[in-house]
């Protein structure tokens, strides 16, 4: 009986010594089995000679972080934390001027209950409530003007003065004088860091840090 089933293992030297000797003995006498063995050897040689395909990209996952990328992990963490902090700061700054302006407006309103009308600009919402940049010179000028008017006029006079302004009467000399006082009043220097109170600044910073954190994090995940 031909040991066809053992020919491949014989060829690959995967038989036990006894089985190998048995097959060898058969091959010495069997031309057909020698032919089959030669065919299997030729087939194996052809399979081994197949061209090696090449991948189109690197298949080794980058499980290590490059040296230049390592500090970015810390930076990404910092940026995400900074973004959260800035959003919180934005909320506080956007809310705080309301409380402050409401407090400053309540005191004069209580002291001068009659001083209502177009001339009382302290009851108007400050510009920061509209998320606009604060005008550092407008509020102080009005305040000084009001204080000046408070020194020379009673609340009743103020009402009369407002009435004169509204009617645009010829007796507007007092208005002109008032304007003169306004223009002559010393304009206080704007606070050096007043721009820090702009919620827009904090919003832009928060969005910028959030974007940086997102981009760096994505880059780190892709490596």
């Amino acid at each position: 009986m031909h040991p066809f089933g053992d020919l491949s293992a014989y060829m690959d030297e995967a038989l036990s010594s006894e089985a190998r000797a048995s097959v060898q003995a058969h091959l010495d006498t069997c031309t057909l089995c020698r032919t089959r063995l030669a065919e299997l050897r030729g087939t194996a040689r052809l399979i081994a000679a197949l061209p090696m395909p090449v991948p189109s990209r690197s298949l080794v996952p980058r499980v290590s972080v490059p040296v230049w990328l390592a500090p970015l992990r810390t930076f990404s963490t910092f940026a995400s934390g900074a973004a959260i902090f800035l959003f919180l700061a934005l909320s506080v700054i956007a809310y705080f001027p309301r409380v402050q302006s409401a407090g400053t407006a309540a005191a004069p309103a209580a002291a001068r209950p009659a001083a209502t009308g177009a001339g009382d600009t302290s009851l108007q919402p400050p510009s920061s409530l509209n998320f606009g940049a604060p005008s550092p010179s407008a509020a102080p000028v009005v305040t000084s003007d009001r204080s000046g008017a408070g020194q020379s006029a009673t609340p009743g006079d103020a009402t009369k003065e407002v009435g004169r302004q509204d009617s645009a009467s010829p007796a507007s000399n007092s208005v002109a004088a008032q304007s003169t006082r306004v223009s002559n009043a010393p304009v206080p220097e704007p606070a050096p860091f007043a721009f820090l109170l702009s919620p827009w600044l904090w919003l832009v910073l928060a969005v910028a840090f959030a974007a940086i954190s997102f981009v760096v994090g994505r880059r780190l995940r892709s490596t």
């Binding site: 050897r41 399979i47 499980v63 290590s64």
Partner: protein, 197 residues
């Protein structure tokens, strides 16, 4: 045919086991091409890249638990399993049974040459012959193909192939023989003879 792990690779293996990512990358780089070659012949080029990348990533994740000595055989085992899993999931192209039939090896038929043709030994440099071999490999069952490639292309021993494919060594012997015989029969049917190969 098969690069053995030398002292430098053993050191890399120890470092990779301890979590050295660069050592693992270097080890993986050494066998990237053979892994892709094996996966491409098992799956085709489209899925082979993803299969190899997934296998290498899986190897890295379980590197600490690797207790063997042959990193190459271990990763080939992962890739082979991935490839066989993917082939099983391909419903639209039903494969032949993964487990060999219970018939004996002696019952496998040997095709006879239909007409005189070139010797197999002369075909190694013939592109047409290699294409025929590739086509023949694609037609045999996946488990036979895996064993045959691991033996004839990658040069693994039967014992290693048994570990890689999680089968008995007798099954490996049978699959290699059947696969080789199937390829031989395709070549013979094309009019070639390999009596002096």
């Amino acid at each position: 045919m098969r690069p053995e792990l030398g002292g430098a690779s053993d050191a890399l293996l120890d470092r990779a086991r301890r979590g050295d990512a660069r050592a693992f990358e270097q080890l993986a780089l050494e066998i990237e091409r053979p892994l892709y070659r094996h996966a491409a012949r098992m799956l085709g080029h489209d899925d082979a890249e993803d299969a190899v990348q997934d296998a290498l990533l899986s190897a890295w994740k379980s590197m600490a638990s690797f207790e063997g000595t042959s990193f190459r055989a271990w990763v080939f085992r992962i890739v082979t399993n991935r490839a066989l899993d993917r082939l099983r999931s391909r419903k639209r192209h039903p494969e032949l049974p993964l487990d060999p039939p219970s018939e004996t090896d002696d019952s496998v038929s040997w095709a006879e040459p239909t007409a005189p043709g070139p010797e197999l030994a002369d075909l190694a440099a013939d592109r047409e012959a290699l294409r025929v071999v590739e086509d023949a490999l694609a037609t045999i069952p996946a488990d036979q193909r895996a064993c045959l490639l691991l033996r004839d292309v990658e040069g693994f021993a039967y014992e290693e192939i048994a570990i890689i494919t999680s089968t008995e060594i007798g099954t490996v012997k049978s699959r290699i023989h059947r696969g080789r015989l199937a390829v031989r029969n395709v070549l013979i049917s094309r009019g070639w003879k390999g009596s002096t190969g």
